[in-house]
């Protein structure tokens, strides 16, 4: 072994879902030990697994406890261990047939086979025709953060229980979902709006994580047919040429923020778009503008935003990047590479889970070798 090989080790506590490990390289071999499974042998437990790049992406060999429990051997051929490079644009998972989508709030999507998603993943949907003139094409192409409710079901944060939406059923031809593999290469960015509550402040809900922090300056791009177009950052009539911006005064959760703009007199938001108008429709968006600013609103000396973002106590809310902590609100490069330990099952023991159960402590070691035989 010479100076050019790479070694890394670490551990994590499993959530039961696929675990992403970021490294400065993409390994060609990975080992993992499930400390919890070693400590408490039980059927389906996977105490040890190994992956080599020559096995293929998503494969692994593993040891599995049988019913006795005694260790046996098995292989994983789907959702095993794989490498990734998030920094190569617009990567999507495989197309998966949609069996049905309910007319509900939130809408429930059922796939034709196991989707393999975890809550927080982002998907896009396409081909949402129930007939040539009915369905849910209005939301096709939008990025949605999913909440997983079952192996073949998840919800999307959109109200389809409205008059212009027709439920999908019977696995319509061409109706697919795809996972957006790396939705946040750079953030904050642009988010599609699913709902707006008008008032003295404006509450905005997005279809996927907005990645905003308090003080983030924002602009709106809302086509007239979606209502609430008055929020748009058009040139100010009082200050000609100066765009109208708002800023985030509180973050409710990953997809809801409150913006300082008084929208009391604005038109109500309308997500009940007409099916027939989907072609060429573009989606209402909230966009990050620069950093922690005030949207042009004068601030007082006692404001927590004063005097500058550098002095805001960022504490635990700071955004970490591979280069270290970032200034709140600054554009963050979130590209990365490394490997993923998937939640795939064994070929023989379909109830085993490579990444272990929720709470399991996993130790891992990753290698990138100088030399691999045969060359």
């Amino acid at each position: 072994m010479t100076e050019y090989s790479r070694l890394a080790k670490g551990f994590f506590t499993s959530t039961g879902a696929a675990q992403v490990i970021k490294l400065p390289f993409q390994p060609d071999a990975v080992e993992m030990w499930n400390y919890s499974s070693y400590g408490t042998p039980a059927q389906h437990g996977v105490p040890y697994a190994y992956w080599d790049v020559n096995m293929g992406q998503g494969f692994a060999v593993e040891q599995v406890f049988n019913a006795t429990p005694v260790l046996t051997t098995d292989t994983v051929t789907t959702n095993g261990i794989s490498t990734f490079a998030a920094g190569q644009l617009l990567q999507y998972g495989a197309q998966l047939q949609i069996a049905s989508i309910t007319k509900a709030n939130p809408a429930v999507v059922t796939t034709g086979s196991a989707h393999g998603l975890k809550s927080g993943d982002v998907v896009i949907l396409s081909g949402l025709y129930q007939s040539s003139t009915t369905g849910m094409q209005q939301i096709a192409g939008m990025p949605f953060t999913v909440t997983v409710t079952g192996a073949t079901t998840f919800t999307i944060p959109w109200n389809t229980n409205q008059s212009n939406y027709t439920a999908l059923s019977g696995s319509p031809t061409g109706a697919f979902m795809r996972k957006v593999l790396y939705p946040y290469l750079y953030f904050p960015g642009t988010s599609v709006i699913s709902a707006i509550t008008t008032g003295t402040t404006t509450t905005v809900t997005t279809t996927a994580a907005h990645n905003f922090v308090v003080g983030q300056e924002v602009a709106f791009r809302i086509p007239t047919i979606w209502g609430t177009y008055q929020l748009n950052s058009l040139p100010n009539s009082v200050v000609p040429g100066s765009p109208i911006y708002g800023y985030v005064v509180s973050v409710t959760d990953y997809h809801t923020v409150v913006v300082n703009i008084n929208s009391t007199a604005f038109t109500a938001y309308n997500s009940n778009q007409v099916f027939a108008s989907f072609s060429g429709e573009f989606f209402p968006q909230i966009v990050a503008v620069g950093d922690v600013n005030t949207g042009g609103v004068q601030i007082s000396a006692n404001s927590p935003l004063y005097p500058s973002p550098y002095l805001v106590p960022i504490g635990t809310t700071q955004v970490s990047t591979i280069n270290g902590p970032a200034i709140l609100g600054s554009y963050v490069n979130n590209t990365s590479q490394g490997f993923v330990i998937g939640a795939g099952a064994g070929t023989n023991d379909a109830s085993s889970v490579l990444v272990g159960a929720n709470g399991n402590v996993i130790y891992w070691r990753a290698f990138l070798h100088d030399m691999s035989v045969p060359f």
Binding site: G174, Y186, G290
Partner: protein, 322 residues
Amino acid sequence: MSITTTGNLGPMILQSLAPAMLYVPTPTMNYITVCDKVSMPTSGGTTCRFMRPRALIPPTIQLGNAGIDPPAQVPQRDIIDAQMAFFGTGCIINEQVILQDQEGVLAWVSERLAVAMRQAEDLILRDYIVSAASQINAGGGSNGDNPTNLGISDFSLVATTLDTNNAYKFMSGIEGMDRFGTGPVRSAYFMLSSTELQTDFDALVGSGFLSQWNYPTNASALPSEYGSVFNVRILTSSEAPVARQASANGGDVYYNTVLGKQAITHINQDGYSMNLIYRDPYYSGMLAQNATLAVKFAQAQAITQDTAIRNLLSTRLANLSP
């Protein structure tokens, strides 16, 4: 009598390297071309901070004769930060290669590293724009998808949007000349598109698309410029972003970035936009002598005028295999 040929003569070295290397297919790098360039100073920290003053309210109302001054205005400013990141790659070359190989391995590896680095600069900007710039779906096309293929009205809409936002155009117009088949070119924003869309642009000839070849003069045209529509001049590249099967009907979605001046800024640190690092072969083991060639660069990027950039998303008129 037998004739001696290379076929019946004993083995010998019968190879000769052609004098010129074959070209390596390389896409045009449009994103780095159209962005503003800023350099952070050395020891200047990790983050480049941009400041944009807010416009003050123009005093259009007469003061009257009360002798009382109007209230003062408070100047406001917007802050935009871009955090520097480092990128790099390299090759390890054993000294046997350098000793034995007949052509300049180090020379062409250096050249390839430099090109890889320049491509990285461009791709990073591309991915950042896709992530952070707001989007307009094309709706002027006829393919019934969402977004549609590019229609003539889409160019009008996006240019109108940028004009309304008081964006600066990149190019002044080209006056018409008395030459058959040519037409004047308007002052223009740039649109960065995929080469795969060139058939769609060709389909707009007669509707408003003017091929670069039909400009009155090509003096101000960029090498990757395919043509223009209204106030938009189109640069194409094979590396322009495409989201495969991502449209409403499952078609490919193309990200056509339309932008004015100062919309995107590329930042380096102290001119550290590229550093070619060569290390002579040295003993890294009992016998091993390896040289290394590497490139490293520092880059940050920011949307510095969000009002002057839009991703105009489109599909294609027909899915042709390029």
